[in-house]
Symmetry: C2
Subunit: 445 residues, 2 copies
């Protein structure tokens, strides 16, 4: 073992990102201690009110493979090959996410977290639960917890989520740029149970969407045959959480806007009342490093869930950090500087993309022009797989393309597609398009 790897690393946060970075670092030979403010989820179950399932895609898979968990995680996933759109008459339209074989994967947050914690402990990490960070010394890398415990490390990684205690203390230091921006929408989860025989009652290998203009319902499949449905709705206004304040109004709302869902969610009123209405925040900040402390994942870039990239971007942070440690001989001083400068534009890009994708999911996916646009882009990608890569594909399936590059190429492609779609006869003539001429516009003029 290299001498530089004698360092002791403390990780704040035993969530998804904290566990993955712990696995990487323990496998490098570091002494790793993980501190978590909550109780051990393997003993008490997952916390209520957090999103129950997530969509794992390529950027998340690669790190899981690198730390040797591919086959174990595979047992937990349900591949979703595309979006299944439900209109108000119950009519279904399927739109594949990518090419044959490209899928995003529904996975239970709780199940994955427990698997990752077990893996971290197996790799030699020590876990410490019920330890809420009260104070961190950025220079000496000492942690003080609310329970009175203290811990002294060489390096601290803050992987303690969107409401990070570590970042909150960074915010009180001079010249720390920070923003938290909440969108005007909240979300509420509801459960669509399995059939009596334990089967899925809708198409299993799809992410279901009920796009309704300025709001939507989505459903992701679970292994037990159930689906977790999430209603995204404005907090205030005509159709809003504020206005759905009686059983009558809630029933009326679902009957009018999601009629095909009613028979599938028997406890719709109970779920609506019992489950919290949660808010959606984008967190941006810089720098991510202060002395011997580095924040990663949601702690440094919390994003809205509409591109399904929150967990994936956090896992990618871990992979990039590990790669930089490889390349810079575990020189943390160098690595932390390079890491933040490298990852900040990517974090900003996926934050923007995620905000923008909400409009696509709740509104555009039900739009004829939009669907045709996607069809033409798929054809361009088929004909010119390297030159023209649809934005969704770059973000979701191409872990070799940085988010910031995807955003930029996506902008460029969108401007070209705007021109293509401006053709008044595009719906009739689209199959006659000169694909080569379109792709040629990508080249610098």
């Amino acid at each position: 073992m290299k001498e530089s790897r004698n360092k002791s690393i403390a990780i704040a946060g035993a969530g998804l990102v904290g566990s993955v970075v712990a696995c990487y670092l323990a496998q490098r030979g570091y002494q790793v201690d993980i501190f978590e403010r909550r109780a051990d989820p393997r003993l008490v179950g997952s916390e209520h009110g957090r999103s129950i399932n997530l969509a794992l895609s390529n950027r998340g898979w690669l790190p899981l493979k690198e730390i040797g968990l591919e086959s174990e995680v595979k047992k937990l996933i349900i591949p979703m090959n595309g979006r299944m759109m439900h209109d108000t008459s119950g009519e279904l339209t399927f739109q594949p996410y990518g090419k044959e074989g490209q899928a995003i994967n529904s996975i239970s947050r709780g199940g994955l977290n427990m698997l990752l914690l077990n893996a971290a402990e197996k790799a030699g990490c020590s876990t410490h639960f019920n330890c809420q960070v009260e104070h961190v010394n950025f220079e000496t890398a000492e942690l003080k917890f609310r329970n009175g415990r203290t811990f002294s490390a060489d390096i601290i990684i803050g992987a303690d989520g969107a409401f990070s205690a570590i970042r909150s203390q960074m915010q009180r230091t001079d010249r720390f740029n920070y923003s938290q921006y909440f969108i005007d929408y909240g979300y509420k989860e509801m459960t669509m149970p399995a059939s009596i025989t334990g089967d899925h009652l809708m198409e299993k290998n799809a992410l279901h969407i009920w796009p309704r203009g300025n709001f939507m319902l989505i459903a992701l499949p679970n292994l037990d045959g159930s689906y977790t449905c999430t209603l995204f709705l404005p907090f205030e206004g005509k159709n809003s959480f504020e206005n759905l304040d009686t059983d009558e109004k809630i029933k009326e709302f679902f009957a009018t806007t999601f009629p095909d869902v009613i028979p599938l969610i028997p406890e719709i009123l109970e779920d609506f009342h019992d489950n919290p209405t949660s808010s959606l925040v984008t967190i941006r900040c810089f720098p991510w490093r202060n002395g011997n402390v580095l924040i990663i994942g949601d702690a440094s870039h919390g994003i809205v869930p509409f591109y399904g990239q929150g967990m994936n971007s956090g896992f990618e942070d871990c992979r990039v950090l590990n790669k930089l440690l490889d390349e810079h001989d575990d020189n943390w001083d160098e690595v932390m500087e390079i890491f933040q400068d490298l990852r900040k534009p990517d974090a900003d890009a996926i934050a923007d993309l995620a905000l923008r994708n909400f409009v696509e999911m709740r509104d555009l996916v039900a739009d004829d022009d939009f669907l045709l646009r996607k069809k033409i882009e798929a054809r361009l990608h088929d004909a010119f797989p390297d030159e023209w890569v649809p934005l969704y594909t770059m973000v979701t399936f191409r872990e070799d393309i940085r988010y910031s590059e995807a955003l930029e190429r996506g902008h460029h492609q969108a401007r070209i597609m705007d021109k293509v779609m401006a053709n008044p006869n595009i719906h009739e003539d689209w199959e006659k398009l000169d694909l080569k001429a379109i792709v040629d516009q990508l080249k610098p003029q």
Copy 2:
């Protein structure tokens, strides 16, 4: 006295804005208690390291008049009729801020604060120093201080500055949008003393600027014949605070870039070493109201100093709040909602304008095109005083025009001026311009 005015108001912060709002509310008949984390400045002197003098302009004057302090404050000011630009050869150029008689006013922060505190106490307010807010209950309007004291009010006004403790607690509530953004520049104050006879050694009725492209020095006159100079410089890079790390380099820097200043600041090295390098932040947030608590001034909209509007916009907050209490019969519930919705766009506008004005001050004021543009705009304003009002005039001298309106009209005028200045012979032909035709472009086409 109206019954609604039996309410007890607690104000956090005995700075400039806290004292002014206290005067307004005490004069309305409220019981007002002011709590301040620092000691009483009248006993211990002003805190070191805060900006020593400020520029009071129309938006700040009007509230001071309304609370009856015009004649007292007049004794503390030095009118500055324009900018005196110093180039590297010591050559001077004077540029008036507005028309004859329009001036901004240099005033000592400490002196004004003491005057305002005395006025607040005279109006019946109770002041409580060394009371740092530890916790606020937004619904019950209870304050808990670090010294163990508690206080229960009906309404709390947080006027506790850019690093507001009240706002910091709001930030931990759900759906509170917040950003703090530091520019890459710092500032350091230095003193240019009076002559042996107590006179000013440069033009007294001017704000002096040494614009140097990406950095600058400014000087504001004090009543005692001295000037307070402020150096605005990047933290890092070629000419930067980081690089000025030896006496040699500091002397060399001043000798090259501000040669005319050297004989006027005898303790240049002492000041440079002893005075702190401070950072410059823009704070934006929303909502400003939570339950029975409202934040105003820098607490809700901290801005950079380059438009000289930090204090002025805070005083304007107090005037607008008082006007709304008049109009809404002291119904605080209504008033706090209307106040934040009304003032937020104005706060955002002046924050943007202040950031943008830094470029103007440090760079453009030494630019021929810019100076000509100002000259043409002054002529347009002379000919059409109501239709064409230069942006600086709207912000600084027209307290009847909202910041947000000034920003919008300024944009519109700038687009027209861009076209005017695009004329290749503009420097020769500008006196022949058809002013009426230019002003006509302001009208909706």
